[in-house]
Symmetry: D2
Subunit: 402 residues, 4 copies
């Protein structure tokens, strides 16, 4: 067994540090998933999770991890051979693309350099050409966990609306839900995909589909052959707080606690907290003289920051040094970014001092691993945090320039 | 919140009573699923779960509940339009049938009265007619959770072999794995489906596919469009203890503990314990003058017992009375058995005194609910348990006749 | 490590089965015992524990186990050489006697046969002779954990009042508090001693002194040299929710939950539940043809039952057989009762089915150990429980005769 | 309930951050303290705790918090009217002094300025004058939790030996045991007092007396009237792993885990880790231009650092600001230091990044509270930690000068 003296710093961009309140909630005896005590639990989480997605529509809760909820979004609404439009924002967008292809969809993939979000203009441009409305869905990753870039979903919606295109809008919020502002209804999203192990502060094992009326109608008429992921099987029992097959009861205990915690803090405050920590992190990176991967300051992610290492320096060697010396896990570069970037998760159950421990660990690790940098990034973050303390709900005043 | 004075008796046939050791194991901080500490965990559970399935072949661990693993078995090996042979042993066999149909398979369903297991002779007879080998798979439920009937899988295998039929043999062991003897390799099964929340004593949220070389070959050449459930994506990372997408880390902690507990007791002793408790339960039922649903004593389930109520008595009213008066959850009649039977789960983390509390609760409940019966069932079980105590690994000497 | 398949039955008369809610409450991070979060906790438990003792007076909470709270009662109010009156009701009364002697008190010990409680008439008789009021305290054990006899404290108080004797009345409720009706104020008790590990359902490690104004006045003027146990050091900080030295914070989390659970059920219902379980147990013992140690039916303990084994049979051998065969811990005979009686704890977090498991374990154990008895005790308890079910708050209608 | 986003930083010098492994160990069902499973536990912790005290002699484990173990040391060995020599090293030495007086001892208190440890020369000088050997014990606090000063116990012993004085040497290690090197046998200590909630990383509720043969002999012949604290009652049952009255079972589970964790890391490594963190903290304080309370660099505490605020600045206001803004608890100035110093705990379950979070919180707090200081303390600690990383077992090379 690995020896930890003190707490491990789990600063990958998810799974995130699960707070004790949630772990303790999960650590309760499993109950009959067909009994009245469960029914109360089921009704509570099914109602609560809608508030987190900011929707009046149903949210499906799967006893499965996030990748499954991607698949669910696709197989409920789309048929083999359907055309979908995706944008290459990073590794997870690419994986979703690959999944869509494997499920028999025809994917158009708007190319990208993994340093920017979905370009609403490019979406508009492509849809404008699709006079026959052969494109059935536009699929975007809200927060690209591999790059630390947050796409502007509301603007994508506007672009679609401007073209009066009937395609469904599907959005992956696995690493933004409960961390970065997201509004399923207000932004007109048809299917939002979420997961438990990031902003919701739960262990992995639950995932979500928030669905609009339009998506539901599409599912009723079409979709692929499906069973486990089928929405309609879920919706009936869900009305009474039940599920059609065995739910992941203990994770639902945790979900109930997570919803309570987010609402005790207030969603707006949760978002502001993440924004402040994102900004502090970026200022540290800038002070070190390193590059934030994200190129557009409108798209900085407040959930994680991907940092580019200078040429000739291996990000994985750096990460291994940090793990060895300081018992902190940082996120690796994924796909084509492997070895070139590392990622700092600053989302979920988190606060100023955990962030300072994290940034200190990065700065010390840069020294240990011999990565050229300037001292003082942690100091600068500290200055920023001190200057904005007690003001966490306010818009940060200082924003580092891209 | 429901008030419990003392412990709830969760005597449905799963989810079962999760022991404290496992709950505490789960209640540990989530770790980086791409780091070295996880790798040790992953390698440990991937090796250990094979021993539980009694196989040298790979076992896939899904971060999803058991219904998903059914789907995985079908979509990896079979193609839309393929013919499969199933047997109507009860509600879960019927649900699996329904799932297969929804996935586009052509299902032949050997009819049954829900009181017997799969008839090996009927399988042989059907396969004998299938000279063209259009039947691609025979799918059986090992232990029908809805009826308390355990099919004789080894005999089904023999019947298939006798016909030299190349169909794959797929078996659902969701409610038998870790409770009733099951041998994936020795019995020549191609895909075994399992779940976490029964004999493995875990909360729901993990499920399994144990796969033979033949099944793997079938999957490599064919199967349906799939992504989340795809075996080949799993097998590569699994070799090093990793998973292709985020695993349900905390449930894997629990799985590691569950495997340790089963092996500390010894699988043979686990099976003998369940056999003894099954027998004690059936003797109690017989003493009450009630009918065990299972009609063939070779097929009695040692994991649960379904009990038929006399005509004119509602099993659900009886169950509600037991829950109200004694804080015990019993299993309901499912599908066409609703209201006619109740089910006593006696599997998982269980012992003689928990069984006696359970049977006393049933006997008292029969009185409270006005169900005609003879007193003395609990007494008879007690006599049986006392007479066989200290001898739990031995074959029970007395067996009630069907 | 000991292997448990299923739950251990901890049926000693304390420590009792700690419910999950309380274990989980304890399993929270320790906090600063001088900070505002602690202050809320401290204020909450200091107020709540008074309600459990049914007093308006202060209750001292010691970070120490129950034996310490005995000592605290004595050293705060009495001086070396003071005379106290005690009654030999069993092993714990004898231990308290021994402690008093070691602390330099002169103890008069009203003899007893360990089968009856404190005789109010004997107390009255002795006090009547004490014209000079040299007796400074009367010390009684409310519920003798070694014998299963509950003394009639209100009658002792009346006897003292009738004699107009100014001695303090000190009562040990370690194994009755939260299980058997007890009223510190209404019964005019001066110091009540309590502990955490019985009716309060907590692990051992906390103990209590509920103190009357008269006791407080005595302590202010006198008492022995003391520091750790000193009441006055406690009372000041307690007013604000704090403690003069480091409190057992995590057990206080548990205490807060325990108070909540007792009040959710309602203290009257808690007492009625214990009364019903005590009666069921005694009926079982009578059916077995064994003897309840307690000789006076007015003094039957509803928290535990001590059972006399026939001559020539060793109660410890019986207990060892039960532990080995059924994983149940029963209480041993203590002091001069060693080997002659065993004790069944039926207090704390408990319910009908746990009781039936317990009684079945005893009955089966009697068989295994070859102790002569009649079958049917568990059956009789079951009949009694069924006939009184749903009526737990009512006075049990049937009471076995002594 | 207080809302925490992320983990609270509990940086008082005890209770310390309880690691999850220990909390989970405590969160297990309580067992029969007279049964065989307990016996294994008892034997294990009684043997293990000796290794932590570095003694071959018995160690008494009390189910009571640390203040009680002080009292136990005094009442077992000393009689009312005995003379003891103590040294005024700070608040806890003063409290122990007060306790001794209340117990009827005559205390000579070598005066001190609360910025230095026990002066071995002063002890020698006083003992030299005590030709009649009226001084029965010399009582020292090893690590003064109120000041961050570690007395040189081995030198005190040498001073006593040089005078050939037979007084017992009693040492309080409540805040040093398991953090700062301490050798009960090698240093010739007669009674060592310890507690659970500091270096042992447990919640409060256990305390210890490690006793030499000489102390045991003194206790057998003398001591005060006592019962709960009596050593001889403990030693008999302890030989078999049992206790004379109900032990704090669940905290013993935690103790077993704590001993395992300390031994997995290695006591020498534990001490080196604390030394490195102590040094880093002092360098930070020096960089801020603030004063470490401890005046003698030989006596710097590696468990905590007390920091003097400039005149006119209230340490409690500073602490409140830190708690409010950063959810970190720092230790207050105690007794005459109230408002003048704050204390940083850097002991127990701790690591580099937790320390950096802590020091960042202090530095930001100094800004928020308007305490004059120079920026850069956290930066300097970070530089020190980076330069000594991977070398935690080595003697720190740089030590700040007093």
């Amino acid at each position: 067994m690995t020896l930890h003296t003190g707490r491990h710093f789990l600063q990958i961009p998810g799974p995130t540090n699960v707070p004790d309140r949630i772990l303790r909630a999960i650590d309760r005896p499993t109950i009959d998933h067909r009994g009245p005590e469960f029914q109360e639990l089921g009704a509570s989480v099914l109602a609560g999770i809608r508030r987190i997605f900011q929707t009046e529509s149903p949210v499906i809760i799967y006893p499965a991890s996030g990748t499954g909820a991607w698949e669910a979004a696709l197989v409920n609404c789309l048929s083999s051979g359907d055309r979908v439009l995706m944008a290459e924002t990073g590794h997870f967008a690419s994986l979703w693309h690959k999944m869509a292809q494997r499920l028999g969809l025809k994917v158009e993939f708007i190319p990208g350099d993994w340093r920017r979000g979905v370009d609403p203009a490019a979406v508009a441009e492509r849809l404008a050409k699709d006079k026959a409305h052969t494109i059935k869905a536009v699929c975007c990753v809200h927060n690209e966990t591999s790059t630390g870039v947050t796409s502007r979903i509301a603007e994508v919606r506007k672009a679609m609306d401007a073209e009066r295109h009937p395609a469904l809008l599907m959005v992956d919020t696995i690493s933004s839900l409960g961390s970065i502002e997201y509004r399923h209804d207000a932004w007109g999203v048809d299917v939002t995909v979420g997961g438990s192990q990031k902003g919701l502060m739960l262990p992995p094992g639950l995932s979500f589909n928030a669905i609009s009326k339009k998506a539901l109608a599409a599912a009723e008429k079409g979709g692929m052959a499906r069973s486990f992921w089928d929405w309609s099987d879920m919706l009936g029992p869900n009305e009474k707080g039940f599920f059609p097959y065995t739910p992941a009861t203990n994770l639902l205990y945790g979900l109930q606690e997570a919803i309570a915690m987010l609402e005790e803090e207030g969603l707006e405050n949760v978002f502001a907290r993440h924004a402040r920590h994102g900004e502090a992190t970026r200022q540290a990176v800038q002070s070190w003289g390193l590059e934030v991967l994200c190129q557009d300051e409108r798209e900085y992610s407040d959930a994680l920051t991907a940092v580019v290492l200078p040429d000739g320096h291996d990000a994985d060697a750096f990460r291994a040094a940090v793990l060895e010396a300081f018992d902190m896990s940082l996120g690796s570069g994924l796909g084509k970014l492997q070895g070139r970037v590392f990622r700092i998760g600053h989302l979920g159950s988190f606060n100023d001092l955990m962030l300072m421990g994290t940034l200190a660990g990065v700065e010390m690790g840069l020294s240990l691993a011999g990565v050229p940098h300037q001292r003082g990034g942690a100091q600068r973050a500290m200055d920023y945090l001190a200057s904005t303390s007690g003001n966490s709900a306010a818009e940060p005043k200082l924003r580092v320039k891209a």
